[in-house]
């Protein structure tokens, strides 16, 4: 079980992914943009942060940079539905900035579950 912070501006996306993660036994905290996400992170210190890239107010890239500055050990999964210059570029950037996994949207539920599982400490 892991505590996961899920940041995405799309409520439907948040709902769907929360269903997936909770069914996998994880505890999910939600935020609808990067600023909220940072606040939530400071409040709860989750194990894993799953964040979208393109968001209003504070987008994912900036959020990743801030999180990594605050908690270098934090595990981040970046995801994106694409961007004005193509989603791959943003995800590659996120990977360079310290995201442990990048996932282009849309993806299959188990791809996320496996990514989370892979980021958790092997034995508790």
């Amino acid at each position: 079980m892991a505590r996961i912070l899920l940041i995405d501006d799309d409520a439907t996306v948040r709902y769907a992914l929360k269903q997936v993660l909770e069914r996998a036994g994880h505890q999910v905290e939600e935020a609808n943009d990067g600023m909220v996400g940072i606040e939530k992170y400071n409040a709860t210190h989750p194990d894993i942060v799953v964040t979208d890239i393109i968001m209003p107010n504070q987008e994912g890239i900036e959020t990743i940079i801030k999180l990594k500055r605050m908690a270098p050990e934090v595990a981040i999964i970046a995801m994106s539905g694409g961007g004005r210059t193509g989603n791959r570029d943003f995800l590659a950037m996120a990977e360079k900035l310290g995201a442990a996994r990048v996932m282009p949207k849309p993806f299959r539920p188990r791809e996320l579950v496996e990514a989370v599982k892979a980021l958790l400490p092997t034995a508790a």
Partner: protein, 898 residues
């Protein structure tokens, strides 16, 4: 001559002595022992009361008295008295010459005196007239001397006849001559001898100087007889008494003298009209026989007057007159003094020459000389002088230099212009051409070596002697003259010079400028060829022929441009099938506009541009340039531009696709995720599972589509092709009409005819329709008019400044789409060409219409001008395709073949 017995005792002593005196032809007197005049002969008394010229023999007066009153001039007067006083009774006599003024004129006389033999101490004095001309004078002196001798002889021979006129006595026994004559005459009738005096003798009258001819020993002798009748106291004729003399020599001498004198006169008169004499006071004393009326008149007026008083000073050269007076006063000779004078009221010119005469003692007697009437000559001369003056004045006025040379090459006349003023003063008349050339060529040219100068001078003289000629001569002072020489009909030569220095300098400057221009032309990268109004080549640079690979001879100065076109045609520049290009048509085409442009491809593949421009001064200038590289660069630029445009379009699309993809992906995520979660809720084998599987499959498919969209790079329409503007515009307008509301009026004004532009049909349609539909939509439900126009425009400076993308060398078609709708708001205007910018409600516009128009126009190097006043107006400037000459003519208004 030997002294002979002079007088024999005459038969009648006293009377015969007086008779003897009487018989003397010269004035003579007999002086007694006291030297008083006791008798004079008739010659001393002739002319009645008038004294004879010379010493007057007045009976009863003493010799000394006579001498005192002689009027003799000079030192000779004293000699006269001494003549008689110093006589030696044994001498034959002595003579003295003296001069005396007679009628204002000096005359020379000779007095011969001798004591008569017989112891009476009587003196016979004979006075003879001396002569005038030296030659004659001498002769006359001789004659006089002989006469004097003869005078002696006259007393030698006495003859008498009886009353029957038969010679009874000839008293000359001692003389051999007379001794031989005597037998021939004694007893002969004198009438036979004196044929000339028969009548006189018959009437018993005295006679004088009867010459009889008697042949003695085969020689004819002339005997002169004087005779007077002798009467007895009762009046009966007793016969003749007379003297006789052998005058053969005297006669001959006289004849010779007469002949000499006649010859002298003849000579004088041959060389002149008459001769004259004047005295020491310069008064005319004699004048020869007159042969012309003028001279007669002259003579009548002249004797006793002075020439200098008679001449007309206005008609006489004052210098010559002064010289003449000086000559006169200094008793010098003078020659050819010409003076004018009125003779019988008519102006006459006379030419006189004279020489002074002096007496034996050196005293001045006067002048003698000749005169000629030169009126005709002087008048002619004066007329000639006037003509010459006139000619000189005329020549002086000439702007050209003029010199006239006589047949001997001497300068006759020249004007100021002929002689360069800065060389020296004007040349003297009479100098030869060669002298003057030498002076001119030598002046100021010290550095030229003398051989070269001499060669130049010789050459010039040679030219001068072989007229006609027309040459240019460079003078030493740097001037250049045009020299023309012609020979005149009388053998003289005329030289006309014109100063062409300025012309030459200008010509030089011009040729320098031309050389400079040519050098410039030869160094510009463009080939330049200029033609005159008749298309004849006036200038061409090396680049022109070099660029076209043309022999220089084809594009030579003066050749017609058609030669160049034809040469290019034969080489294949106008296409293999147009080897015989119609040069006239090509040239007509070039001349049809102020500016003309064409590009031709040479057989070796180079692209040559031809720019033909009208020159301000007439004619045209043709510039050719190798634009191969330029065209290649343009092509590359075009490709780049196309690529960039494509990239921009791709970017736009990908931005669009990116946005779409993002949203779609976000949407697909819950679809897929939630469907899977829902599937998990369903039992195995549930039929719903299959449906949900299909949902997921569809979602996966959608995801693939989005992925493809992201990489989708289909472009917006591409420029290229060649379409005639008007027909395609018309087609597009038809489409607009068809789709627009009926209230919209579409007006078409198509004016470019067969002009084509470098765009495809679809693209032109797209431009027209995009702009037209925008206008239609802007008008909306209102009634309105959409106007579509095409026109051909020149890219003027303003247009070029406003649109730097335009090329001044190209021509443009303008497509104008305007409406009377609400126009474009000012805040919107700057953004209208941005992709995806639209003012239309969502779903009505793509925001790409004007962007596409902009892209297309940019690609072909055109420009768009937008204005919004009383509706929107779009001016689309599109470069036209300058139709190559070999392109088929396309009837305007029809669609081009694809």
């Amino acid at each position: 001559m030997a002294v002979r017995a002079v007088i024999r005792t005459p038969p009648v002593s006293e009377p015969s002595a007086l008779d003897l005196l009487d018989a003397l032809e010269a004035p003579a007197a007999l002086l007694d022992d006291r030297r008083h005049v006791i008798a004079v002969n008739p010659a001393a008394r002739i002319a009645g009361d008038q004294p004879v010229p010379g010493l007057a023999f007045v009976p009863g007066r003493s010799w000394a008295e006579l001498c005192k009153n002689s009027g003799a001039v000079g030192p000779m007067a004293a000699d006269l008295e001494g003549l008689v006083a110093g006589l030696d009774p044994r001498a034959t006599g002595s003579a003295v010459d003296y001069a005396v003024r007679v009628a204002g004129r000096l005359k020379a006389f000779r007095i011969t005196a001798r004591i008569l033999p017989g112891g009476s101490n009587h003196v016979l004095v004979v006075q003879t007239d001396s002569t005038r001309f030296e030659a004659v004078e001498q002769r006359l002196r001789e004659v006089e001397r002989r006469q004097a001798d003869l005078a002696e002889l006259t007393a030698d021979w006495l003859w008498t006849t009886d009353e029957d006129l038969r010679f009874v006595e000839l008293a000359a026994p001692s003389d051999p001559f007379w001794r031989r004559v005597q037998p021939k005459l004694i007893g002969q009738c004198c009438v036979d001898l004196f044929e000339d005096a028969v009548e006189t003798i018959a009437r018993h009258r005295p006679f004088r100087d009867v010459i009889a001819s008697i042949t003695v020993d085969g020689t004819v002798h002339r005997l002169r007889f004087n005779g007077k009748p002798i009467f007895s106291t009762d009046g009966i004729f007793r016969g003749y008494l007379g003297i006789a003399a052998d005058v053969t020599r005297s006669y001959e001498a006289e004849r010779a003298r007469d002949a000499a004198q006649a010859r002298l006169r003849e000579i004088a008169e041959l060389s002149s009209d008459w001769y004259w004499e004047s005295d020491a006071e310069f008064r005319f004393t004699d004048m020869s026989d007159t042969r012309t009326k003028v001279v007669r008149l002259e003579r009548d007026q002249t004797l006793g007057r002075r020439r200098i008083d008679m001449l007309d000073r206005n008609m006489t050269d004052p210098e010559a007159l002064a010289r003449h007076i000086d000559d006169l006063e200094n008793h010098r000779s003078f020659r050819d003094f010409v003076y004018g004078s009125y003779v019988a009221g008519k102006p006459r010119y006379l030419k006189v020459s004279g020489k002074p005469r002096f007496a034996a003692d050196g005293s001045f007697l006067g002048h003698l000389g000749t005169a000629t009437d030169v009126t005709a000559e002087v008048t002619a001369e004066k007329r000639r002088e006037a003509a010459e003056q006139w000619l000189k004045a005329a020549i002086e006025q000439m702007p050209s230099g003029i010199a006239i040379w006589d047949a001997a090459d001497r300068l006759v006349v020249c004007n100021e212009e002929y002689w360069p003023s800065n060389v020296s003063r004007r040349p003297a008349i009479g100098r030869t051409f060669e002298e003057l050339v030498r002076e001119l060529r030598t002046h100021g040219k010290a550095r030229i070596d003398s051989d070269a100068r001499e060669a130049m001078i010789q050459e010039r003289v040679r030219q001068h002697r072989n007229p006609p000629l027309s040459i240019e001569v460079a003078l030493a002072n740097g001037d250049v003259r045009q020299v023309d020489e012609r020979r005149l009909s009388d053998g003289s030569m005329i030289t006309v010079t014109t100063d062409i220095s300025r012309l030459k300098r200008r010509e030089h400057q011009l040729s320098e400028q031309r050389a400079l221009l040519q050098t410039t032309l030869d160094h510009v990268s463009d080939g330049i060829l200029a033609v005159d109004e008749d298309w004849r080549i006036v200038s061409v640079n090396d680049t022109f022929v070099g660029l076209l690979g043309m022999p220089k001879d084809v594009a030579r100065i003066g050749a017609h441009l058609s030669a160049v076109i034809e040469w290019l045609g034969s080489r294949g520049d106008y296409g293999a099938e147009r080897a015989n290009v119609n040069a006239a048509r090509v040239i007509e085409e070039m001349g049809s506009r102020q500016r003309w442009y064409d590009e031709r491809t040479t057989p070796d593949g180079r692209q040559i541009s031809w720019r033909v421009r009208e020159m301000q001064g007439g004619g045209r200038i043709i510039a050719v340039a190798d634009v191969s590289e330029q065209r290649q660069a343009e092509q590359r630029r075009e490709q780049l531009r196309s690529t960039m445009a494509q990239a921009q379009q791709l970017e736009a699309i990908s931005r669009l696709a990116g946005g779409l993809a993002h949203d779609l992906n976000n949407m697909l995520l819950p679809v897929m995720t939630l469907t899977e979660l829902a599937m998990d809720e369903l039992p195995e084998g549930s039929p719903a599972r299959g449906d949900l599987e299909r949902v997921i499959g569809a979602a996966e498919h959608a995801r693939g589509l989005v992925q493809r969209l992201l990489t989708f790079s289909r472009t917006v329409p591409q420029a290229g092709g060649e379409t005639m503007l008007d027909p395609m515009t018309r087609a597009a307008a038809e489409l607009i009409k068809a789709t627009a509301k009926p209230d919209l009026t579409v007006t078409l004004k198509l004016n470019v005819g067969g002009i084509a532009i470098p765009l495809g049909k679809t693209e032109i349609q797209q431009i027209v329709m995009n702009l037209g539909l925008n206008a239609a939509q802007a008008i909306g439900d209102r009634r309105g008019t959409l106007t579509i126009e095409t026109a051909l425009i020149e890219a003027d400076d303003d247009l070029l400044r406003a649109n730097p993308s335009l090329d001044s060398a190209r021509r443009y078609a303008r497509l104008t789409v305007s409406d009377d709708g609400p126009g474009i708001p000012a805040d919107v205007l700057p953004r209208i060409f941005e992709p995806f910018f639209t003012t239309k409600p969502v779903g009505q516009g793509t925001g790409l219409g004007l962007a596409v128009v902009h892209g297309l126009v940019n690609q072909v190097g055109g420009a768009i001008e937008v204005s919004s006043e009383n509706g929107a107006r779009f001016d689309i400037l599109l470069p036209i395709i300058e139709r190559p000459l070999n392109a088929p003519e396309i009837p305007s208004g029809t669609h081009p073949a694809d």
